[in-house]
Amino acid sequence: MKKNWSVYLLGATLLVGLVLPLATGASPVGFYIEVLLGGLMTGVLYSLVALGFALIFKASGVFNFAQGAMVLFAALAVARLAEAMPLWVAIVLATGIMVVLAWLIERLVLRPLVNQEGVALLMATLGVTYFLDGFGQTVWGSDIYKIDLGIAKEPVMILERLFEGGILVNKEDFVAALVAAALVAGLVLFFQKTATGRALRAVADDHQAAQSVGIPLNRIWVIIWAVAGFVALVAGVIWGSQLGVQFSLSQVALKALPVVILGGFTSIAGAIVGGLIIGVGEKMAEVFLGPVLVKAFDLAGGGIENWFAYVLALLFLLVRPEGLFGEKHIDRV
């Protein structure tokens, strides 16, 4: 494969960048690990959102730009409902709402557009995002709401004997990581071990072949969207409890784009790995690369986080467009 060297070059550069702050001693080890962990935690959150993307794309070839808006909507629903009822009831109710919402999106927006190319679908889901944005805020209000999972918010100092000063970690982050892992495990089991899961994988591989063995395409798509809705809910609850539920949550969806590009649009594993890489890369770039650039170019502050993920995705697109785990696409004329 003649593209090999550029992939390795990119990978090598990233690795060097990752290790540099430690190697040059520019940062104390404890702090470095904190940043690393912080990046991993953010990465987990990105992965959750990207999971929703990957699921839908895998099964139907549709790029659901509206995933972020769905996350926000779900989070808003939970936050507001929880004001009137116990949290777990709110979550159940919100799950129901999300599943219905997902079904509606599939029915009203995507089914009619089934024959158009990806770009039209992208723009349609963009439209859905705008709609959900406005609708969500009309229905649930536009203040910042809180989701209280009942987990202590104070960070905890661990490993004080190993690293000087110890490492500050958040209990909530651990819970988030655990939940994400449980979700992924559940999804993997679902896809590999159940008949429905097999049907979903068949549909993802080849729509027509799946139909010809009697798999009801439309029902499968509804299931996929429902699952994506549920994933959006989980992501929404976790994000919401961390950051508070606010408008900028839908911007999170945009960040998930580079994640699926790195990971490969159709890969669950890719969504996880991609999310972690982006999370870590972003944090590292902001904390370590940022000050270097500010000094070198006399910049007004950091903000590297805002574009790092996208530029990284762009580079990946140029050297390895199918992502780390995606499938190569051969065009036959």
């Binding site: 009619p112 770009v119 439209g127 944005d133 406005g134 609708f135 590009i261 007004a300 467009p321």
Partner: protein, 354 residues
């Protein structure tokens, strides 16, 4: 029967290829231009200029730019406001550091700088398409956001990050009233629309459309994909750069880096989806729609006597935008421009049913 072409035979290819081959269209256009240049400045109010007409003119220009790339050449871009930003900051710096330059020269130079940046960010399009290209254009958007916010030279070391401009002055004539600004914008828009129309009818336009419709076949008939795509990016960025400069100088007066953010990019995209991709007229329709909608939404509660808070109005406009995007994509992917030409077809038959 008013709109029939009976008796209007073309006896030369030049006549057949005119922009407005039908006489009634030519008369209409002449009337429209006369109205726009002579009547409007005399009757329209300042408020109308500032809130509706002037932004419409500038955004129509930007929409034409985006349409060249997306509608005619088929390359997606959801970060096009970045090129408007380049144009605006380039114009600002040129006007600041080389004050002797005539403003029109500044505009063209700013456009050329934006075009160069456009070519740079168009390079990924040589390897990737569709959704992937969309993400690459997002990279452009966010990177530019950051660049103009952080690299202090661009804002002339302004402590707040904002820049402001003086009213435009050319050859002794100052564009200081809304009506004068309007005339300046109108003149620029007419010229650039003409240029766009010429390009689209010419072999570069056909090359773009061929790349959009079937790029493998386009290559096979001898069209160079690199040239076609990069010229589309360059011209599109040129138009948007000039629009950006006008937006900053004429409409906003002063702006902060986030004036050209993702929201604006998405608005531009919505303009051409609703207005009609691959149609210059559609760019106008789309721009008019997007500019007018928030204002209409604000006014409706007053007319109906129902009070709606500004926040709700803004949420409603989001919902309506989103709903309309989906609606147009499903029902009429060619947008308002197609509805317009269907209307014209009906008019040709009127008053007969068929």
């Amino acid at each position: 029967m008013l709109y029939r072409e009976n008796g209007q035979f073309k006896s030369s290819y030049a006549a057949d290829q005119q922009m407005l081959p039908i006489l009634q269209d030519r008369l209409f256009m002449a009337g429209l231009l006369a109205f726009a240049f002579v009547v409007v400045p005399l009757v329209a109010s300042d408020y109308l200029f500032l809130s509706l007409i002037n932004p419409f003119l500038i955004l129509a220009l930007a929409a034409i730019g985006l349409n060249l790339l997306v509608g005619y050449c088929g390359q997606i871009s959801i970060g096009h406001a970045a090129f408007m930003a380049v144009g605006a900051y380039a114009a600002y710096n040129l006007a600041l550091r080389v004050p002797q330059l005539n403003f029109l020269v500044v505009l063209v130079l700013a456009g050329l700088i934006a075009a160069a940046v456009g070519i740079l960010f168009g390079i990924p399009s040589l390897r990737i398409k569709g959704l992937y290209l969309a993400v690459a254009t997002l990279a452009a958007q966010f990177f530019m956001d950051w660049l103009f916010a952080r690299v202090k030279w661009f804002t002339n070391y302004s402590p707040s990050g904002s820049v402001s401009t003086a009213p435009i002055e050319m050859l002794g004539w100052t564009a200081d009233t809304p009506a004068r600004k309007y005339l300046l914008l109108l003149g620029i828009l007419v010229v650039f629309t003409l240029v766009a129309k010429n390009l689209v009818r010419s072999h570069i336009g056909r090359a773009w459309m061929a790349m959009r419709d079937m790029d493998v076949a386009a290559e096979v008939i001898g069209i160079r994909p690199v040239y076609a795509k990069l010229t589309a990016f360059a011209l599109s960025a040129f138009y948007c750069g000039i629009a950006g400069a006008l937006w900053g100088f004429v409409h906003l007066g002063s702006w902060e880096p986030l004036a050209f953010n993702l929201n604006l990019s998405l608005n531009l995209l919505f303009m051409i989806i609703i207005g009609g991709m691959g149609s210059l007229l559609g760019s106008y329709f789309g721009a008019a729609f997007i500019v007018a909608l928030p204002i209409i939404l604000d006014q409706i509660p007053l007319w109906l006597g129902i009070p709606i808070s500004t926040a709700t109005a803004s949420h409603l406009s989001f919902m309506i935008f989103g709903g309309l995007i989906v609606f147009f994509l499903i029902v009429e992917p060619h947008g308002l421009a197609r509805l317009w030409s269907i209307g014209k077809e009906k008019l040709r038959l009127w008053p007969f049913p068929h």
